[in-house]
């Protein structure tokens, strides 16, 4: 993830001197915002949860230990917990999307089914994601949007790697079904 060799040094500095937290914040802010935004799909709420995530990270950075878990995993775990807490506290909020609703492109267009996928808009994709189970959403977003390794996702979700693979498989299958079936509008 971050600046690899330097990451440990930056974190150690931030642990002894919280004022040195800035580089970590700058590096991880877009990633954490992206993950949280896709999970809650509400810009205002995403900002609130991102703020909570970084406040918690700053307050607990001294407790972070270099073991088999990277700083990114640790931070995504905090972010995920914020999202979980949020959903526990309240009903899902109505979608509030960005103005950019450009179409997304799938790489290969060989048959009519895939042509449907090629016409999927960002809005449709986000709505379809929202119909998946919470864990499937986490697995898919962390793997394909945030580009984490399966091993890292397993640590964040507190599951074994096999379970994460199964989550990815089922999540992708369900997502495909939703996108082709077009029943996701009712599910939100």
């Amino acid at each position: 993830m971050l600046i690899d060799e330097k990451e440990q040094e930056i974190i150690s500095r931030a642990q002894s001197n919280p004022g040195s937290f800035a580089p970590l914040y700058d590096h991880y802010f877009p990633k954490i915002y992206s993950y949280i935004y896709h999970r809650v799909q509400n810009p205002q709420l995403a900002e609130d949860l991102v703020a909570e995530t970084f406040y918690k990270a700053l307050a607990n950075i001294k407790k972070f230990k270099w073991q088999d878990r990277s700083f990114a995993c640790w931070l995504y775990t905090i972010a995920r917990n914020q999202v979980i807490d949020q959903f526990r506290r309240q009903e899902p909020l109505p979608l509030e999307l960005d103005e950019s609703k450009g179409e997304l492109t799938a790489p290969v267009v060989n048959n009519p089914e895939e042509k449907v996928l090629s016409e999927v808009t960002k809005e449709e994709l986000l709505k379809a994601i929202k119909t998946l189970s919470s864990e499937q959403q986490d697995a898919l977003l962390l793997r394909f949007q945030e580009e984490l390794k399966i091993k890292e996702i397993a640590l964040i979700l507190n599951k074994n790697e096999g379970a994460v693979k199964a989550l990815l498989f089922r999540g992708l299958k369900n997502l495909r079904k939703k996108l082709e079936g077009g029943d996701y509008y009712e599910a939100v």
């Binding site: 802010f29 991102v50 970084f54 406040y55 950019s100 790489p107 994709l125 394909f144 992708l172």
Partner: protein, 409 residues
């Protein structure tokens, strides 16, 4: 440059090459989805707030470290001296032994014994009547001597076991040690009471609510017509704790007004100049007990007096308030501690314009409030003692908020 990376391991779970391709396409859609951008102002603003917090923490750590280093240095220095100069160590040890021997032989100071402590000499340094060295002056009883001169502070009177009249007292005179004349012989050997006798216990009452209190909804900076329910509200109760700065601070002497002020402040009641504060001490066989009466000067005539019971070594034992007949039969009624009452905040319904609110409450005032009581499906208004928590919104605008929560059990 980002590059789409597919997980070959997922393919193990697929049944056909077509399925693999389909899932790959969906995964690519996810990967290709544009990253959302937050407003740059938010990113910068949050960074500013975080750095401010980091700076505060850093200062705290620095101070802590400095104190630790100072203590450490002192410890190292004294160890160094003792180790490097055996002669010095030996001399210090001899001096200590000699001093102890001298004090022991003279018998001037006896250790504190609760059985012989008296109101006139409550500090525990006994002018020992059993000691032949002091028995030169014959003991004069209070009757023989005539009326005992009343100490200037009322708190001293409490030590005799009688409950004093509740009138405002003045300053450090409340402290028994301040009024006792160590030169005078002890005038009474009345045994200590077994347990305290608090004023509030003499006319103790209790509330029996004939229904359930319905807490009013909170409208924060919004009209009822345009209100939107806010589920995501975070509330914290952090009383402005006061820490006595020096060992000699009067606030560290149990029973002084400064001490009572500190105890109250740590519970969220900010004691200000001119507030009514009465502190009654009672020394018993079970230890030192204090009954504190408090009412802010600025409170309205209707606001009740708060009563705290405290035991040295244990802390606050209980909360009461003095009811003068405005809401119930006159007497003393037990109250919830503010921290306990504050937990009811979780039962409130919030309305505001923002989706998320964060409040920090630091101060509390005891007052009355008209709550709705639901009884057999009917609602009626009842006046009850309430804590008014004063707080501030911390996430958005720093707006102030008063929150009324029932203070009765």
């Amino acid at each position: 440059m980002r590059q789409f990376e597919w997980d070959k391991s997922v393919e193990e779970l697929c049944s056909s090459p077509e399925e693999i391709q389909e899932l790959k396409n969906v995964a690519f859609l996810l990967w290709d989805m544009p990253r959302p951008q937050s407003s740059s102002s938010f990113q910068a603003e949050l960074k500013g707030r975080l750095m401010e917090k980091a700076l505060l923490e850093e200062n705290y750590v620095c101070k802590e470290n400095k104190i630790f280093q100072f203590i450490n240095k002192g410890h190292k220095y004294s160890r160094k001296i003792l180790l490097a100069r055996p002669l010095f160590t030996a001399a210090a040890a001899v001096l200590l032994i000699v001093s102890l021997a001298v004090f022991h032989n003279q018998g001037q100071v006896k250790p504190f014994s609760p059985e012989i402590a008296s109101p006139e000499n409550p500090s525990g340094i006994e002018v020992a009547q059993n000691d032949p060295a002091v028995e030169k002056e014959p003991f004069v009883s209070p009757v023989d001597k005539g009326p005992v001169e009343k100490p200037s502070g009322e708190g001293a009177g409490n030590l005799t076991g009688t409950v004093p009249e509740r009138t405002p007292t003045s300053g450090p005179g409340d402290q028994p040690g301040a009024t006792a004349d160590p030169g005078k012989p002890a005038v009474t050997e009345e045994p200590l009471k077994v347990a305290p006798e608090f004023e509030a216990w003499k006319n103790q009452q209790s509330f029996k609510l004939a229904g359930e209190i319905k807490l009013p909804p909170v409208y924060y900076r919004v009209e009822k017509d345009t209100a939107v329910t806010v589920e995501n509200v975070s509330n914290s109760w952090k009383p402005r704790k006061i820490v006595a700065v020096s060992v000699a601070s009067e606030a560290q002497i149990t029973g002084t007004k400064a001490w009572a002020g500190e105890i109250l402040s740590n519970e969220g009641f900010i004691v200000r100049e001119g507030d009514y504060l009465e502190v009654n001490l009672q020394e018993t066989q079970k230890g030192l007990f204090v009954e504190v009466f408090y009412r802010p000067q600025k409170s309205t005539d209707n606001d009740p007096t708060l009563v705290l019971h405290y035991q040295e070594g244990t802390g606050i034992l209980s909360y009461y308030y003095e009811e003068e007949g405005k809401a119930a039969q006159p007497g003393y009624y037990p109250l919830l501690p503010p921290a306990e009452a504050f937990k009811q905040v979780n039962n409130l319904k919030w309305y505001a314009l923002s989706q998320r609110l964060d409040f920090s409450f630091q101060e509390v005032v005891l007052t009355y409030y008209d709550f709705l009581l639901e009884e057999d499906g009917r609602e009626k208004t009842v006046k009850l003692p309430a804590y008014c928590f004063l707080g501030m919104e911390t996430l958005h605008n720093g707006g102030e908020l008063k929150l009324y929560l029932p203070a009765v059990k």
